[in-house]
Amino acid sequence: MATSHVDVPGEPTETGTALLETATGTIQGFQPINNIHQHLCAFHFYAHDMTRQVEAHHFCGHLNEDVRQCLIYDSPNKDARLIGIEYIVVESLFLTLPDDEKPLWHSHEFEVKGGYLFMPGVPGMVERQDLKQVCKTYGKVIHFWQDDRGDPLPLGIPQIMMALTRPGQLDENIAKDVEKRFGVSFEEQREQRKDLTGPDHGIHPLANAAGRGLKTELREVDIPPATSMPRVFV
């Protein structure tokens, strides 16, 4: 369940550090973060393992009308962990991606029309204005922290994630838990979203890992040898 997670190891923040960071918080500029205006909740699963499903809280901003970028957290709370990133593009931009890139992206039509993707706290009518657009987009999600297996730290290599594409994929317990905590009903949303439509050309056959699975692997590459002239300062 996403309501609690394994604690991150470490000592509590020292007073001096906390004070300093309160100061930086007021003095410095945070424009890229201030551009984040929207909270979306959805579900991801690992591109190599549909049985491992994760509740994903997206905090999104528009780079322009056609491209959004999102920080993904494991909860909408103050102590949430930053677990991944999603990029969202409209269909016309998705089509410009190289064909070996397209499988890393997933379609949004099913999870939007199915009611599984929602904006917590926003009334359905307002939500649907935006979901009308999101329904036609494609997303690329990468997770860095496998909190679903209880990792207390972001271990291992990045994971490509996929989104719901057919009925019956989402675990019942996860679905019910989210519906309860956020006071939503996916079935009700499904009814209200009947008139939404997906990408104009249909879902591209290469999207959603072209129907197969994807796994990331680490490979060593040669780096030219460091010269033997150590420097202490630039």
Binding site: G10, N35, I36, P154, I157, P205, G213, A226
Partner: protein
């Protein structure tokens, strides 16, 4: 296994039309992608041998996937999604979208995002090619005295592109990690002591306490958008990034540093003096900055596998 037959293909992707025919392995169906010009996205059509046209909805999984496609260290194939200047494609944000965002802002709590209260500007090197160096803007949240999480952007303007995530741990935590994990991390002592890492807008002396604690930390930074390569959209697998070190091949290009310092009014003299006194960790774990001792960097490949599932994916 399906093959690819190129009927004709342009090498100058930007100017000439290209036509690619994908053999689906079913005799009577071919998937054809036609791109008339650079400005137009490819159109896909499915043709029966008898010339009857169908939409691509009728196709099952038609293409085989190459191993190591989209690897973090390989340049992607020709695409309008890479170009000089790496300008972002797409239309300007509409008023409608802005209104929706304003509505959302009033009704929703952005609690996790509000926790970031530190902005650092530094430089990072690609772990598979140390000569590629980028200026990065970290927006940082401290979870506890030993752990921080950072959203990394390519600038500090509202138009900044989200290019990755970095996690920072203290040396105490780092020592508890398995050695296979430690190889993915880099040390921070050098970049902090030399003033490559700075907190824009903060007087140098005020930066000291933060730097004292960060000098002994290690970071793990995955870059998801290779903007320096000209990628207009985030392409490929994430890249593992490394930090500047006191050896020639990992020294940040002085021009990059000068430009950054001018922009933020950083005086190199100030930074070096106040930070020289900082107790440097006497020992940096040799598993970190793995390339230094082992001459090996890391790349990420994306490989097709049979997904563990309880039903079809598409």
């Amino acid at each position: 296994m399906h093959g690819i037959a190129h009927v004709s293909e342009s090498t100058d992707y930007e100017r000439t039309p290209s036509l690619t025919v994908w053999n689906t392995g079913k005799d009577d169906i071919s998937l054809i992608s036609i791109q008339k010009s650079f400005k137009e996205a490819p159109r896909y059509s499915c043709y029966h041998k008898k010339g009857q046209k169908k939409g691509y909805k009728g196709i099952h999984s038609v293409l085989y996937l190459n191993r190591s496609m989209a690897s973090s260290d390989k340049k992607p194939g020709p695409t309008p999604a890479i170009g000089p200047g790496s300008t972002l494609p797409g239309k300007p944000t509409t008023l409608g979208s802005k209104l929706i965002e304003s509505g959302a802002m009033m009704l929703q709590s952005m609690a996790p995002v509000r926790q970031m209260n530190l902005h650092a500007c530094t430089f990072a090197l690609y772990g598979h090619d140390l000569s590629r160096q980028i200026e990065t803007h970290h927006f940082i949240q401290r979870i506890n005295q030993d752990f921080l999480q950072c959203a990394v952007y390519d600038s500090d303007k509202p138009s900044a592109r989200l290019i990755g995530v970095e996690y920072i741990v203290s040396d105490n935590i780092f020592e508890t990690l398995p050695s296979e994990e430690q190889k993915l991390w880099h040390s921070h002592a050098y970049e902090i002591k030399t003033g490559l890492w700075t907190l824009p807008g903060m007087p140098e002396l005020l930066q000291d306490p933060e730097h004292k604690s960060l000098t002994k930390t290690y970071g793990k930074f995955w870059c998801t958008w290779q903007v320096d390569r000209g990628d207009r959209l985030p392409l490929g697998a994430p890249s593992l990034m490394m930090s500047a070190q006191a050896v020639d091949i990992a020294r940040v290009n002085p021009e990059l540093v000068k430009r950054r310092d001018r922009k933020y009014g950083v005086s190199r003299g100030d930074a070096k003096e106040s930070r020289v006194e900082m107790a440097e960790s006497e020992w940096i774990n040799p598993n970190a900055d793995y390339w230094k001792q082992h001459g090996k960097g890391f790349a990420i490949d994306v490989v097709p596998v049979e997904m563990k599932s309880f039903g079809a994916l598409i």
